[in-house]
Every structure is written in structure tokens, then in C-alpha cells.
């Protein structure tokens, strides 16, 4: 644990605290960002084929949605500690958190992908087929781009909730912004010491806002035709 170089314990001193422990805090922020983003990307890559399957074969949709919904009922901290024994890893393995978060992302996104593909109007699909787009090419060139807004909405939910869940992993010893809360709690035993706690909250909220903004921006880039349409 780093020594308390700053003496002020005021909640507003968090920026001074950040400057004093810059390299440590930045490395936690960096890990936190990776842990929030990578599981969503892997989750999306897994959810795309599953979502497509449950759209293509309608009878798959209800079981797929109930299974993923069931996965989503497992509290995050429970899933963190359940992943190692289920996969035969050692307890407190560095990959247990990304694996658990990937499971959540898949659980959330399968339904989103299926609903997104379902939001593509039938006329559009028929028109695409009529001008010679078949199977896979129609999926990637027509259906997925049109489903982007719906999928992006799901990605935003998954990413923002990941930021909060990664912080929870910090309380069971994982190295990320959650450590600031652990640190603040430990330093507050005789008298309250706010700076690391407030800094942790501020950095988590900023990270969530930035990631959310990035997804919104990416959605705009990927759907230029939505801007070409005059607003209603």
C-alpha cells in the first residue's frame, strides 16, 4: 500500500490524491477499461451466431432467451467465484472475471441480436434477395447494418453495467479501480479518509460515460443513412 503523502481527507481532495498516486491509479483505470470492453466484444462475437440462429430457426428463440435470462439472474459476485471451480481453474485466477463478464455479455446480447435482426423490415429482406443478395452476403451487407442501432443499444447497457461489475471484482482482490474502494475503506478505520473513494467513483463514472459515448459515436459512423433521413 502506498503511503499517505497527502494529509487532507476532504472528499474534494480526490484530484490531489490522483496526482500523488498517478501511475498506480492510471494502471488500475487501464485494466478497468480493458476488463469492461474486451468481454463485451468477445460476448458480441459469440452472441452474433447464436442470435442469428434463434432468428433463423424460430423454435430456438424461446429456449435461448430463457437460458440466457437464467444466466443473467446469477449475481455477478457469485459468478466471479463460481467460474474457477466450474472450469477447473485455480481460485482467484486472473481470467475468472473476464470469463464471468463474457457470460453476462453473451446472456444480454443474444436476445438483442435476435431482436435486432427481427427489426429488419421484411420488404428490405425481400428487396435484397430480389437484387441478388443471398444468405451470408445478405446477412452481413443488409441485415446486420440495419440491426446496428438495436445491437448498439444492447452494447451500451452491457458496457456500462460491466464498468460497475468490474469494480465489484476489485473487492475480491482483482487489480482495478475497485481497489480504490478497498483502499479507502482500509484507510478510513480510525477517521474517514475520502479521497480514494471519491476518486474511484469519479473515474468509474467517467469511464462509463466515455465508453458509452464511444459506442454512440461508432453507431453514428456505421449508420450514415440515419442522418440522411430528414427528422420527423
Amino acid at each position: 500500500m502506498t503511503s499517505m503523502t497527502s494529509t487532507s481527507s476532504s472528499p474534494w481532495h480526490f484530484f490531489g490524491y490522483f496526482l500523488d498516486h498517478r501511475s498506480q491509479d492510471l494502471s488500475w483505470l487501464w485494466t478497468h477499461a480493458w476488463l469492461s470492453v474486451v468481454p463485451v466484444i468477445i460476448g458480441l462475437l459469440i452472441a452474433l451466431p447464436l442470435g442469428w440462429l434463434s432468428r433463423r430457426y424460430g423454435w430456438l428463440y424461446p429456449p435461448m432467451v430463457s437460458i440466457t435470462g437464467l444466466l443473467y439472474t446469477i449475481p455477478s459476485i457469485a459468478l466471479f467465484v463460481l467460474v474457477p471451480p466450474l472450469l477447473g481453474l485455480s481460485s482467484l485466477n486472473p481470467v475468472q472475471v473476464p470469463i464471468a463478464l463474457t457470460v453476462y455479455s453473451v446472456a444480454l446480447l443474444v436476445r438483442v441480436v435476435a431482436d435486432g435482426l427481427a427489426s429488419v423490415p421484411d420488404e428490405v429482406n425481400q428487396a435484397a434477395t430480389a437484387i441478388g443478395y443471398g444468405g451470408v452476403r445478405r446477412l452481413f451487407a443488409v441485415e446486420l447494418p440495419i440491426a446496428v442501432p438495436v445491437i448498439a443499444a444492447g452494447l451500451r447497457v452491457a458496457t456500462v453495467s460491466n464498468v460497475s461489475m468490474v469494480a465489484i471484482a476489485g473487492t475480491i482482490g482483482m487489480s482495478n479501480l475497485g481497489q480504490l474502494f478497498q483502499l479507502g475503506k482500509d484507510l478510513s478505520t480510525p477517521t474517514a479518509y475520502y479521497p480514494p473513494i471519491v476518486l474511484g467513483i469519479v473515474l468509474c463514472v467517467l469511464l462509463a460515460l466515455v465508453l458509452d459515448g464511444l459506442i454512440i459515436l461508432l453507431t453514428r459512423v456505421l449508420t450514415p443513412w440515419r442522418r440522411a433521413v430528414p427528422s420527423r
Binding site: V81, S164, I168, G178, F181, L209
Partner: protein, 249 residues
């Protein structure tokens, strides 16, 4: 490891209280108590507010504001409020830890209930409310006799996701340190007793699923069959044909 977890969970000594350790039964009840209080308070705030906002379509910024709360990290808020509040109750009871925990849990539970209740009322087709008005129903009758029943499916989905989040986050209450099923996770971690830690995870997951199932069953019995579409096969056929006729005409 799975065998060890199973034997930890089935060891009756772990279920009852001893002078040193609190057993599973007590912690389970504590966990349920925290969660019920939080969901109860949140529903008492968010349900009437959501109905009102949805019915009058005013002050919708409240819904957006509540949704912005979701990006707050719950652990951070919990630690902050504990450090802030707990010293004032030092040495007396655990109320100094209960209050911050309940505040965080209520803050978590309000947004899903509020936004779903609002969306539920907002989504009721204007044709339906117009028909109710035409039949001479008062605003109050429309709200409670038409809009509320029609928005029940969405209200329940909000209640269910709020309950799941509360049960999940009540686990973290043990981090500050309070009772509840999270005790086993954090104690197991500290004592490097991994079967205990994993058993804690199993218990929380089981409680969450049981609560969700219970709410699903209540939803099934409360929501009108006209909305959920759970009819016997014969009725489905007539009702869909009627619906298409109405739409065509």
C-alpha cells in the same frame, strides 16, 4: 472442488449458529430482510411516481435522471456512504452499516422500477384510453382500471430486474462489513477457505433464481390473460382471427 463445495453446503453444522460463527440460515434470512426492505421502499417510491409521470406525461426528466444513476459504481457508493454514516453510530448496533446499505440498494432498485412503470403506462395504446374516456371513466378510474393493469407486464419486468440487482448487491454489503450471504464469500476469501467462498456464491445464485421464479409466478397470476396471451388453444384461434378482422376493418 465441486465435491468440497457440496459437502460444505450439506454439512448441517454450517447451517446453524454457533457462538463463533453465524450459520447459513441466519445469514440467508438477513439477506432476504435487506433485500425485501430495499425493494419495498424502492417500489413505494417508484411505482406511484412512474404511474403519475406516465399518466400525466410530465416531469419525464425524472426518469432520465434516475437512469443516469445506473452508471454509479454501487461498491464505491456503498463504501463512501458507510465511511460517511457509520462513525455516527459507532459501537451501538450495526444500524450504521444497515442505513448506507439500504440507501445504495434503494438507489439501485428505483431506476428499473421507475422507468418500466413509466414505459408501461406510456405504451398503453391511446385508442384504449380514449375508449375508456368515452365510456365515461374518470381519470382515476382510467389510471387504476385501465393503464395500471395494461402496464403490469412491464412493471413486473422492472420489479424483477430490481429484485435481482438488489439481491446481487446485498452480497456486497458484507464487504462493509454486514451480515448476509456475502459473509461467506468475503470470509472464505480472507481465510482462503475456497469451498466456503464458492458455497456463498452458490447460495446467492440460488436465492436470486428462487426470487425471480416467485415473482414470475406472481406475474402469471396477476397479469390479465388478455395481455399475456395465455389462452387455451381454442380461444387463441378465435381471438387472433377477431384481431385481424378488426385490423382489416
Amino acid at each position: 472442488m465441486i465435491g468440497q463445495v457440496f459437502s460444505w453446503l450439506t454439512d448441517s453444522a454450517h447451517w446453524t449458529d454457533t457462538p463463533i460463527d453465524t450459520g447459513i440460515a441466519t445469514q440467508l434470512l438477513a439477506h432476504i430482510r435487506f433485500s425485501l426492505i430495499a425493494v419495498g421502499i424502492a417500489a413505494a417510491i417508484a411505482l406511484p411516481l412512474g404511474l403519475l409521470i406516465g399518466h400525466t406525461r410530465r416531469a419525464t426528466f425524472l426518469v432520465a435522471g434516475a437512469n443516469a444513476l445506473r452508471s454509479l459504481p454501487s461498491v464505491g457508493l456503498l463504501v463512501l456512504l458507510t465511511v460517511l454514516i457509520a462513525p455516527h453510530f459507532y459501537g451501538r448496533t450495526d444500524i450504521g452499516y444497515v442505513i448506507p446499505t439500504e440507501i445504495v440498494l434503494v438507489l439501485l432498485a428505483v431506476p428499473p422500477i421507475l422507468s418500466n412503470t413509466y414505459a408501461g403506462v406510456d405504451n398503453v395504446s391511446p385508442a384504449v384510453t380514449d375508449a375508456a374516456k368515452g365510456m365515461g371513466m374518470t381519470e382515476r378510474q382510467i389510471l387504476f382500471g385501465v393503464e395500471l393493469p395494461c402496464s403490469l407486464p412491464l412493471i413486473f419486468s422492472g420489479l424483477r430486474s430490481a429484485t435481482l440487482q438488489v439481491i446481487a448487491t446485498a452480497t456486497i454489503a458484507s464487504f462493509v462489513p454486514l451480515g448476509g450471504l456475502g459473509r461467506f464469500i468475503y470470509d472464505g476469501l480472507q481465510q482462503q477457505d475456497y469451498p466456503q467462498m464458492i458455497s456463498g456464491g452458490v447460495l446467492v445464485a440460488a436465492l436470486a433464481m428462487a426470487a425471480d421464479l416467485l415473482l414470475a409466478l406472481i406475474q402469471r397470476s396477476v397479469v390479465s390473460r388478455g395481455l399475456s396471451g395465455r389462452f387455451s388453444r381454442a380461444v387463441v384461434v378465435t381471438s387472433t382471427s377477431e384481431r385481424t378482422e378488426v385490423e382489416a376493418g
